[in-house]
Symmetry: C2
């Protein structure tokens, strides 16, 4: 699998941003560790998802490209697919819930994709996608459970480790597990002693339950503020990879997530979405000192006009 | 003057952050230029002000250090003085208006400084400071009108130019003129062909009026949302330096400032305060293409819980 990550890195070279690694004197002092924040919120379209989508779509044959692609997502994967298709001049159709945030629907349309909306309570997005595939022979671009997607996301950890060197821990948020499994494969290749920890909201702890029990668990309609991680379950490809390469999974509360996000906004001065702050929220559960800890800030797509509501209970 | 900036850079080495320079594919596409954002919002305590305060305070004699310092400021200069004194173990007294944002007063206290509050309508902060100086022989750390302060701020442009090389323009926000004059001195030394443009809010355009008329102008109680730039006038040291080294000053509206700030938050994913977005707000007034433009994002200290109010009129 690692060689696919190396190939992905070549495909992404000069296209995706090599995102900066930020450090914070204050964060290091408060935690007693050296923390390296891999800022995928600064990635193109604002999240790591661009890496996987670009890696997969740019690998399609000329014929597949001409027929076009379809994706379903209410969030970052929709934007990643739309931006990639704009760059490669490929027709894209994105199926989004009719109650998706208007900023996200608008961004997808701005990138030139066709948006089809559906009613989340009455319709199945998988069925709508299948009908389009049957009719137009589109290629489906899955949000996480495909090797080219996982390989693209794995370049995040590869870049981080090549830049900062030795790490004792790597904290990665986990939704469907594309980012986590890809980063774990990179880590075990490049820094075999680095412990890779997946982090999930307590409210959507299906991956943690799956990892601990060894059997794939599903949570219907998980509802964390970390909306990017509200996937019902890991995938058929990501689950075995996580079992093999990840050292542990831990969960964080909604309050932990808000506090980490508030810290990142106010002290590190970076705009992260709730999902993007989940990995940092976990550092205190490690209860370690004098370690070098990589933390993936996965994305920054959030309605900044409404963020005050999230922070309203935080004093100072 | 430039040799003082070189000395300041040495004093700040390993203490102040060499802040990153961010670029945005989208911003370059939208403007038709290459824009280099010098991110002083990522500086320690969240603004460039740390450079000047640290440079001045670390140059004090042992005797002056033991007696302690005093500063008056409702914002970033207060935090910069307090953090510097914490690092150097020097007693600091900061005079702040009683209606200063509680987050800022709390930050100054967290750094260990003594805060004295006053009523902006009934009392004079200069007089309070003078009484403290008379009684305790504190050294006054002015917010901008002192050579060591200006020299510290000039390291911003020095670092930017040493990192990115040739620039056609450098846009710098202007309040009291410490940052602008210091950056202009650096620019004229390192890149003599780079045009240095100071940017002010229309609502506090005293520096622009001073520059155009050749005589120091004062605006009483300017009231821009860019609160860091609401200084009534340039100083006795900054004004002549700006006359000599700056190519032009231009002004931006409150709407321009909000739009630039919203762009930086939502597309570049960086937390900047209104003053920190002022220089970017000016780029369109240049009406140039295919140029390399440096833009100083001066700071990121803003109450993120209330920023929705600033953006409430912005659609999408």
């Amino acid at each position: 699998m690692y060689e696919k990550i190396v190939e992905a890195a070549k495909r992404l070279d000069g296209i995706a941003h090599k995102t900066p690694v930020h450090t914070s004197t204050l964060l290091n002092e408060l935690t007693g560790n050296q923390i390296f924040l891999k800022c995928e919120n600064f990635q193109r379209m604002g999240a790591f998802k661009f890496r996987g989508a670009y890696n997969m779509i740019s690998s399609l044959s000329l014929e597949e490209r001409q027929r076009g692609v379809v994706a379903f997502s209410s969030g970052n994967h929709a934007m990643a697919t739309a931006l990639t298709c704009k760059l490669l001049d490929i027709p894209a159709t994105v199926i989004m819930p009719e109650d998706a945030p208007s900023v996200k629907t608008a961004a997808v349309k701005d990138y030139g994709a066709t948006v089809i909306t559906y009613n989340r309570r009455a319709e199945s997005r998988e069925q709508i996608a299948q009908e389009l595939i049957d009719e137009f022979s589109y290629t489906l671009i899955p949000p996480f459970d495909a090797e080219p997607i996982i390989a693209g996301q794995g370049t995040v950890a590869k870049e981080l480790m090549e830049e900062v060197g030795e790490l004792d821990y790597l904290l990665v948020p986990c939704g469907g597990g594309g980012l986590l499994s890809g980063c774990a494969v990179s880590a075990k290749q490049l820094l075999p002693n680095c412990k890779v920890i997946g982090v999930e909201p307590e409210l959507s702890n299906d991956a943690t339950m799956s990892f601990k029990s060894g059997e794939l668990q599903t949570i219907n309609t998980p509802n964390s503020i970390a909306d990017g991680l509200n996937t019902p379950s890991l995938g058929n490809i990501t689950f075995p990879l996580i079992n093999e390469y990840v050292d542990d999974l831990i969960t964080v509360s909604e309050e932990d997530i808000k506090a980490a996000m508030y810290f990142l906004w106010t002290r590190v001065k970076v705009v992260v979405e709730p999902s993007g702050a989940v990995a940092l929220a976990a550092y205190q559960k490690l209860a370690v000192k004098d370690k070098r800890i990589g933390v993936v800030l996965s994305g920054g797509n959030v309605d900044v006009r409404r963020v005050g509501e999230l922070f309203k209970d935080i004093i100072n």
